[in-house]
Structures are given as C-alpha cells and as structure tokens.
C-alpha cells in the first residue's frame, strides 16, 4: 500500500490515511504520524483519539490537542 500519494511504501508505525475522515497527527516515539480518526474518547482528564493502528488493533492515542 502506498502512503500519502507519494508512491513510497508506508513506513512502519504509519497507518495509511483515507479521504473523508478527520485526520490528526499523533506522536509515536520520535515521529509525528498522521492517522484517520474514528472517534474521540475522554477518560479522566485525558482525551484520546481512536484509530486502527498498523498492527490492526483498535487503538486509542492521547490526543495532541
């Protein structure tokens, strides 16, 4: 699968994005990765964005906002 229309393969840890979905950048390790957001969840005083990570798992990542 190509990533972001560059013709280059996705790098590990970079889920592909699709048009029409809200996109946010989350910080994974030392990199910022753009992901398609399926939803947002608030837990305690933290807010998480939901997306399917490149390992195929439903993932909630702390919101960059």
């Amino acid at each position: 699968m190509s990533g972001k229309g560059t013709g280059k393969p996705d790098s590990p840890g970079s889920p592909s994005t699709s048009p029409g979905k809200k996109k946010v950048k989350v910080r994974k390790g030392k990199k910022w990765v753009e992901v398609d957001v399926d939803g947002e969840v608030k837990k305690g005083r933290f807010k998480y964005v939901k997306f399917v990570d490149d390992d195929g798992l439903d993932t909630y990542w702390i919101s960059p906002e």
Partner: protein
Amino acid sequence: MPFTGNYMRFVLGTWDSTWETYCQTNTSASDYGACYGVWGRLYFVQSDTTTYPVGSLPCEQAGNCTRFTTLQWVYPFTIVDNSSVNKQILLYFVRSKHHTNVIAFNCGSFTIGTESVADPNNLYVADFYKGFPTGARLAAGGRCDVYDPISNSVFNIANQTVGYRINMEYYPNALGLKIIGAFYSKMQNNVFFAVIAFIGYASEASPSLIMPVDYDEYVAYNELRKTVGWSFDGVNQLGWNASDIINTARELFPDRAWAVYDDNQNILYLYNLTMDYVPDWLIEKLAPTAMKVLKAPADATVAKAWLDLLNERNAQIPPQAELP
C-alpha cells in the same frame, strides 16, 4: 526491564570547603553584611529593605551573596519530571553551610519525595527526616535531624563536615511521577546559608498485569504465580517484559478480562475489554500514552466482572468509570 538513570546537582549558594566561610551578621559591626572566604555565593536573608535596601549589603556589592528579602520555609526543586516506573533507586549526597556550625540560628533539612504528574496533590515524601522540621522543633536545641532509612540512624544535616550520603530503594505510591526534592530552612532573618546536593537515581521499567487474582486461586506456572499470584489492589503486579506477560496471560486466561501496562512504551493493552470498562482512576494512575484493544469482549459480563473487582479492591480511589 530497561534501566534509566540520571543525576542532578542542586545548589543554593556555594562556599569554600577549606576556608572558614563566614558572613558578618552583627548589625552593630562596621562590616555588617560582608562575607569572607566565599567561593561563589552564599545566600543572605535580610528582609528589612528599609534599613538595608536591596544592593546595599557589602556582600551584594562584592557579588558573593544572593540576597533573600523574603523568609521562606521551603525551597523546592524538581529532579525528574515524569517517571512511570514502580521502582526507584535514589542516592543523594548533601552538604550545607549555615550561620554557625551549631544550629542555633538557622537550620536546614532536606527531603526527597514524589508527586503525581496527573494530581499534584498526591504527594509522597520519603521519610528522610524524623518528624517535620517545624520552627519550634528546630528552635528547641537547634535540632535538625534527618532520618537515614538504610542505617536506621539520624544525623544532623548541618553538622556534617564532609557531607552525607544516602542510598535507598523505594516504591512510590503511584505511576507517572515527578520526583521532587526540597530544602527546608527555618524562617529566620539575618542569617546566611548555602546548600549543595547531588542526587542520582535509577529506574527500572516494570510492566504490570492488571488482573485481580485471589490469593487461593490456582494460577499455573510457578513464575507467573510468584509475579502476579496476588496483590492487594490487583494493579501492582510487576512482571517481566510486556510481551511475555501478554503471551502468558493469553495462554492462561483466554476467557478472562485483563490488561497489561507496558510502562516502557506507556501503552495499556486491553484483553476482553474495551475503553468503556477501563475506570478513570486507572487512567489517572497510569497516564498511558495509548491503549490498544487486543481482544474485544465477546461477553460483556467478563469485562464487567474485571471492572467490578478492580473497583472493589481500589474502593478508596474515586471516581469510578461510568458504564455505557
């Protein structure tokens, strides 16, 4: 289990270790406010800015003192901003110089503790001093005892001519911690002091299996039983690395709900659980960067049983999660 470590130097003023460092505090003396034998700077406390305007003291003009015009009790500093580990090894060395070597006028105490990044009110102070250094206590006999939990002895921080070192290992009461230190000083005017401290720490990452298990419940695999066989709250069972715990838990508890917290990556893995069943207090405690659902629950009662038991064992931690 990766180790991380660091050390920091904390300084409030400096002094010469061989010269008889001294400041003139007799207000009748012609050299009042002058400091001698200083290497660097001392701290000089004089709150009367009418009689002694800021910048008027000889030591201020000579640049070998820093003037305090307010009397403080506590001079806090941060050692580590955020440490999501269960086990801390601390080492510190502290040395101080005060108004006199006999602590009749000013006294310092030194402490290291932790506070939760998520909740600054969740404060934990390692028991380094024997009782809180209140003014009355310091004034009574000039005592300023610091408790050394390793040697089970008490020393006076200000009487040390070569400094004092403490090695200790302790388990903080929460994850996501800021490690803090503070120098306590008696609120006394017209005194001088300096404090220097070296603090080293090492932290061991310790992933946890979060699953309430009863003491008498059969748990296969001796290693796992030793590790997660039982804990008071069902949360603080430490283990090997996160992937080993996940693989073993998948094999042993395929039909139970459990979570694994990888404190190295700050990821909380959920098995037979969804976000809806993770209580807010657990999120506050762990402050995970991410959560990943390894397996959604086919039967909601399994997830609810996990939540109910976890809440029950941690009933002292409000609020609880709201179920959908």
